[in-house]
Symmetry: C2
Subunit: 469 residues, 2 copies
């Protein structure tokens, strides 16, 4: 054995952790680097983002959501220990304490390099009845299994989804697909608070049009249960505290309220956390102030390139990139994660919803003055079959005309157009530069002026008008 | 009347000309600027790109392809004179000679500012039988009408398409949709010569899979006609001159060989033309050396930002941008057309084909050394219904890693992904920068690593390996 052989310990066996382990393994062989990964759950490397489609019946089974099995990881020389929880990190002695959940046996394992990829935990407000039978989260594959089993065994067909962010709206679609009457209860005035309210209202209209009952401006105050302790209704009150509450009968309740960084271990170890409770790293994903510890995925905060602030954005695509960067650096290569511009895309049935960059309130908070324009266009040439209306909202900085953000609500072909804006944001383009972008055009793909360019033209005019050009 | 009132004359009533006229009108009222536009044909402001879909039956009728009627233009204060041909430009006296095609009456009209938007003319090789009944171009709405009428009245069901560029492949789809047996005769080794040959072969395979007979490496030598002078077969010979020719029976022949700039007028007037026969302009679309003459659309050459050379790229989306820029400048505003990166997207049935930037041979010709990588990925998460394979080829400059070009062949959802690369090219991004682009991710829209990013990762590795990093 190589006397200088090192040990890499990875905490968390999902996207960020196993990407880091795999990339490190590609760069350094087992004779050079031992890799031990701990996962407390039953699954590694799975697609949590796929759970709504599994619940909705579009994905056949659990196996399809598993990108790589524990056996596959082990065959690649990664000692992945399932159902083993890390209970402490000792940064002074460079070791972690781990417990086999089956036997309860505990031990310390020393590390030369440590990767923390502990993910996020679902928010679960402390409300009466919130842990009742019939109330489901959708964070893990286990949650998905439990929900699918509940849908099978539940007789009634009334579902209440709590929360109208991307998990909430995706679950609304899934339950519609399962034949449920769906009610969405949402604290904000419109669904998708990641959009400006005007764009959120367009989503609200479209969801109502799908037969979903939208209950906005409303807080959940509890879950009413029957004598057997089973959820039968969701209790609510107006979010502004006015007037009496209401109750929505529910045979099944799904919580899509969001998640928070799972950083209890890191906090106990004295590692640096940010305002959102996520680990703070440098651009190489190294935990600030700790030479041999990296962190990535849903347990870290990321730099928002548009506002210059740290944010918590739990998304599989970021987690995979973090893992790639960490693995390169741990393996002796070099890579950085420069930050995000805040791109997200989701759908409810045939409605596509996308955003990137800053919303109006983000821009104001960042001290930016801006113009905002909204245009109606179509996903294809107007005369081409399947051409569907889409709405594009664009923010540009006052005077400079720099692109600040784009939001899109439309049908098929609308959502991924946000990528053009994501790249333009990354490159620091102005809306004037964008008007002349050489985007792909043919009638089945786009109007002759792509909707994003139509918005850019309108933004140019407004930037000019505002400052008297 | 304003004594300083000027007259703008526009030659050509399609995308570039009428966009220029409309934009100039927005900036300057009729009391300030008279606008006269001459169009020799029967239609103005029509979508030539839509003709294949009209022929194929996906677009209901001719009217749908007309963006704005002559009456609508006139209501906006543009004196559009249909079926009126400009026969000479006198740049010394600032006037154009025009002829009413119905009466034959001719006259001179002076201009203060002139816009040349004469478009392109279809290439029609001088071959025996090329003008026979049953041989059709697809350049104008009149061509489209004639072809549709011929398809209605023709009994046989064998069609030969000459040329396998984007018009050729779109017409192959249209004729398939009409129930024809389709043969495509193509001089190059594979269809879509705008792609590298390896990607062209993927298109070839897919087209064969649709039941299209592909005859590559083959020149058309003539059209055989019957006693009535009607086309009955297309005669061919191997493109390399080897061996005997062959004959393909044809009840209908469609020419999709391409177009050349329509610049006879400009040439006669002594205006500057480039190597491809197109007018040469500055970045404001002003004809070089002529203060009061602008040109745009299919009659000009454009700057290819990737190679630094002038090219002729007839595309409606460029023509519209040119018109916009010209109108702004003519109207006393300011705008430039910075050039193109060479983006194009098209489809044959459900096959999507896209490209941007340089092919291998373009890069070599430009004196660039590069690495090329090809990856297979999917348009959506692999487990999501409708996820389809797609191939992405990427070129990056040696040492610098600067993105040079991307080609995509895939199914639904593949083509418009080229826009990400188009923006990255415009911004001068490296493939390393691209790997961390914050693109929209959700299972219905993309794998967790977007296929374009997968290609970028592979290109990074190859750039590094090649120079020993």
């Amino acid at each position: 054995m190589n006397p200088s052989r090192q040990r890499l310990v990875v905490i968390g066996g999902d996207a960020a952790g196993m990407s880091a382990a795999s990339q490190a393994r590609r760069l350094r062989g087992p004779e050079d680097l031992e890799i031990v990964a701990f996962e407390r759950g039953d699954f590694a490397s799975f697609s949590a983002c796929g759970i709504p489609y599994w619940v909705g019946g579009q994905v056949g089974g659990l196996d399809e959501l598993i990108a790589r099995t524990p056996q596959e990881h082990r065959r690649r020389g990664i000692d992945l220990r399932m159902r083993t929880e890390v209970t402490a990190i000792d940064v002074t002695s460079c070791r972690v304490r781990h417990r086999d959940l089956a036997s309860g046996a505990e031990d310390w394992l020393s590390y030369d390099k440590l990767v923390i990829a502990t993910g996020a935990r679902p928010l679960r407000p402390e409300l009466p009845g919130i842990d009742a039978d019939g109330v489901h989260g959708v964070q893990t594959l286990g949650d998905g299994e439990a929900l699918i089993e509940a849908l099978r065994s539940t007789r009634g067909r009334r579902a209440v989804v709590v929360g109208a962010g991307y998990i909430g709206v995706e679950m609304a679609e899934a339950l519609l697909n399962r034949g449920y009457e769906v009610t969405v209860v949402n604290r904000a005035p419109a669904p998708m608070a990641t959009l400006d309210p005007d764009m959120g209202r367009a989503v609200d209209d479209a969801m109502r049009g799908m037969g979903i009952r939208m209950v906005n401006d409303t807080d959940v105050t509890g879950v009413r249960t029957d004598a057997a302790g089973r959820a039968v209704a969701v209790r609510t009150a107006p979010a502004d505290g006015s007037g009496p509450g209401a109750e929505y009968p529910a045979d099944i309740v799904v919580l899509g309220i969001g998640v928070a960084p799972e950083t209890a271990l890191a906090r106990a170890a004295g590692l640096p956390l940010g305002q959102h409770g996520g680990l703070l790293t440098d651009l190489g994903m190294r935990v600030r102030g700790h030479e041999d510890i990296w962190a990535g995925g849903d347990c870290v905060e990321v730099l928002d390139l548009m506002s210059g602030t740290q944010r918590h954005i739990p998304l599989g695509t970021h987690a995979n990139k973090h893992g790639q960067v960490i693995g390169a650096n741990v393996g002796g290569g070099y890579a950085t994660f420069p930050g995000v511009v805040g791109t997200a895309v989701s759908k409810v049935c045939d409605l596509e919803i996308a955003r990137t960059g800053l919303r109006e309130k983000d821009a104001r908070r960042a001290g930016l003055q801006f113009v905002a324009v909204t245009v109606e266009s179509t996903s294809r040439a107007g005369y081409y079959p399947g051409s569907a209306p889409m709405t594009v909202k664009m923010l540009a900085e006052r005077r400079t005309g720099r692109l600040l953000g784009v939001q899109i609500v439309g049908r098929e072909g609308a959502g991924k157009r946000v990528d053009v804006a994501a790249v333009a944001l990354t490159a620091g383009m102005t809306v004037e530069q964008m008007t002349m972008l050489d985007l792909g055009y043919a009638p089945p793909f786009s109007p002759v002026w792509d909707p994003v360019l139509v918005a850019a033209r309108k933004a140019v005019a407004k930037v000019g008008a505002r400052d008297g050009a």
